[in-house]
Symmetry: C2
Subunit: 384 residues, 2 copies
């Protein structure tokens, strides 16, 4: 049921003709209340798409009554005209739904950078999407936001008397401080705007922010959480954080396993760190090492490349105290070869790299993919 699992939400997904394939490309999610509390995190990229610039303004009020999302065009690097298109989209949605202004409508776009959206197709598509809104429309919305995704990504988490639902898209550019991903989360819990913001930030900090598929950061990333209050239940911020984190972790794992061209889901567990920041820094450096990612694609337990990646960071460690395991086999102890590398079985899709920095008790987990021939193929042909 995705975003329509919680009470108080309707959704729709339609084909507006933005994708040349004729697939669904326009989604609408409406919060029917009684509350309209909202929180969001956006890409840290300084080159932000028009819909991100727009939505950041909307969220300043910590409220949103609807979100409209289109695939088939990122509306990024499109100048003043691009921003006008976003504004016109929000205005049309507000007019169609009634009882709200453009400033209550979050806009998300995904697809190719640098091209204007075909507004002659998008605006009529909005009319159809508004008519199609339904209490069970979540799955259609999740389909409509897909780009190179091979499957829709949805989640439902059941809390104590309330529900958190969500949908996500993203299959490349999965990177630090978010991925090229659009995520809409909904809940029927009764939540104040500060608590909602706190729960979302804590959840994304340990999930989407630690997903680094290819080191690239998008211009359009948006994670939106809307609360309707329709359940009448008010969880504590801690309870809500647990539920939202579970939803985000589930969606992050789905994004990882569907990343463009990937053949491996790689979990990097860094332990023995002096601080959580150190652990994340080391995990991210390993996640971004192209040589290691190629080796893992080839089922090669090349721990030397793990050490070379760790060595580029400023984390606290002694090079002679580094331990590295792959799928449980400690092939490197004290910075040198240990157990026989032939004991490591990398033939499956799931790979766990465990690093012990020997510098403290902090730890963190970063998720990444391998670097495959298919990744290169897919990303050398994206716009052609």
């Amino acid at each position: 049921m995705t975003v329509t699992a919680p009470k108080g939400f309707r959704a729709a997904g339609v084909a507006a003709g933005l994708k040349t394939t004729g697939a669904a490309d326009l989604a609408l999610v409406v919060n029917d209340g009684p509350d309209a509390t909202a929180a969001a995190v956006f890409t840290a990229n300084r080159v932000k798409a028009a819909p991100v610039l727009w939505s950041q303004q909307v969220l300043k009020a910590r409220m949103a009554r609807a979100v409209v999302l289109n695939s088939g065009g990122a509306n990024a690097c499109t100048g003043p005209k691009g921003f006008q298109d976003t504004h016109a989209t929000a205005e049309r949605v507000a007019a169609l739904l009634g009882g709200m202004g453009a400033g209550d409508v979050v806009v998300c776009s995904t697809g190719l950078i640098g091209e204007h959206l075909p507004m002659d197709k998008l605006l009529p598509g909005l009319d159809r999407a508004a008519r199609a809104l339904a209490r069970d429309g979540g799955p259609q919305a999740a389909e409509a936001i897909m780009t190179t995704d091979t499957k829709p990504k949805t989640v439902t988490v059941t809390g104590d008397g309330y529900t958190v639902g969500g949908m996500a898209k993203g299959a490349g550019m999965l990177a630090p401080s978010l991925a090229t991903m659009l995520v809409v989360l909904t809940t029927d819990a009764v939540v104040g705007s500060s608590d909602l913001d706190e729960a979302l930030r804590e959840a994304t900090r340990v999930t989407f922010d630690r997903l680094d598929s290819d080191g690239c950061m998008s211009t359009n990333d948006t994670v939106l959480l809307m609360a309707s209050g329709a359940s009448g239940i008010q969880p504590t911020v801690e309870e809500l954080t647990v539920a939202v984190t579970a939803a985000c972790a589930d969606l992050a794992a789905q994004l990882l396993s569907d990343a463009e061209g990937s053949t491996k889901d790689i979990t990097i567990d860094v332990q023995g760190a002096d601080s959580e920041d150190d652990a994340v820094t080391v995990g991210r450096s390993i996640a971004r090492n192209n040589l290691l990612k190629c080796a893992l694609y080839g089922n090669d337990p090349n721990w030397g490349r793990v050490l070379a990646a760790i060595g580029t960071t400023d984390a606290l460690f002694d090079a002679d105290s580094l331990d590295v395991a792959m799928n449980g086999v400690w092939i490197c102890r004290n910075g040198a070869a240990a157990e026989d590398r032939s004991k490591v079985d990398l033939s499956g899709r799931a790979i766990t790299i465990t690093v012990d920095l020997g510098a403290g008790d902090a730890r963190a987990t970063v998720l990444t993919n391998d670097l495959s021939v298919a990744y290169v193929h897919e990303n050398s042909a994206y716009s052609s």
Copy 2:
């Protein structure tokens, strides 16, 4: 003539049996003086190979009488035994050559990380290398340091009465703060050790340090410059810097064009920057963007990915003032589409990306390669 072009040097390259192919894998370069001045820069990776740790100690005296280099094994992440092997190598060279101690001998290694060198082959190889030393032995030495290089890399620069010669190896892990590369430069100029150090640092700063093939940094990088004084000519530090920079730039271009699996040599010219540091930061971010590198492999002038890469930096710029050209066609002006992308011809090996940040007068050039199917293939099979 490479490293033996300047007067006062002898060199040799032999097959010691470190490579399973039977190709040459051991090189020796000797400075016969009268001077023995030396300067070096080493990898910034904190996980340093045993020969790097050794050679850093040697260079503290700013003197070196010989350098021995082996391919077929990096001797990195090899623990105390690895360091003992390096020490034994330097001692054998000193004994063979006479008139020097182990502390006068720089050691460089390149190859697979994490395995011990077969000293039973290496030490007898040193005997043969010492016997093979010749005034015209430079080309043999340049061949013996190759790993996945497809050709030897050598250079000779003629100064006013003196000469600078050089050889390099490196075809992957070409990255910031040096590449996986070993470079030996020689000169017969008369130079004080401070001037030699200054000339080398300035030369590497604007050449090897701005070569970023795949964002990976090696454990073994070493650039060594030895001066024999045999020409009797004492250039100014400025003159010497120009000559050494020319030699380094030539070798850097050779490394770039032979990078593993590459099909494009990409020059990133960043201009209009507030500072040279900003220009380098932006150039490096573009050089490391896997999505862009895949696009260029596919001859796709995807300027949106250039902007997305710029946006991840903290350089001074306004997203609405960014201009981007590819091979001279300004496909992006003021952060949005400008000239028709179909005008861009990326079919050749050389690609120039010009970025104008519109924030000042500083500029810098960073060199990189595309990300190709062959890169993935080559690096997924390196150790198997």
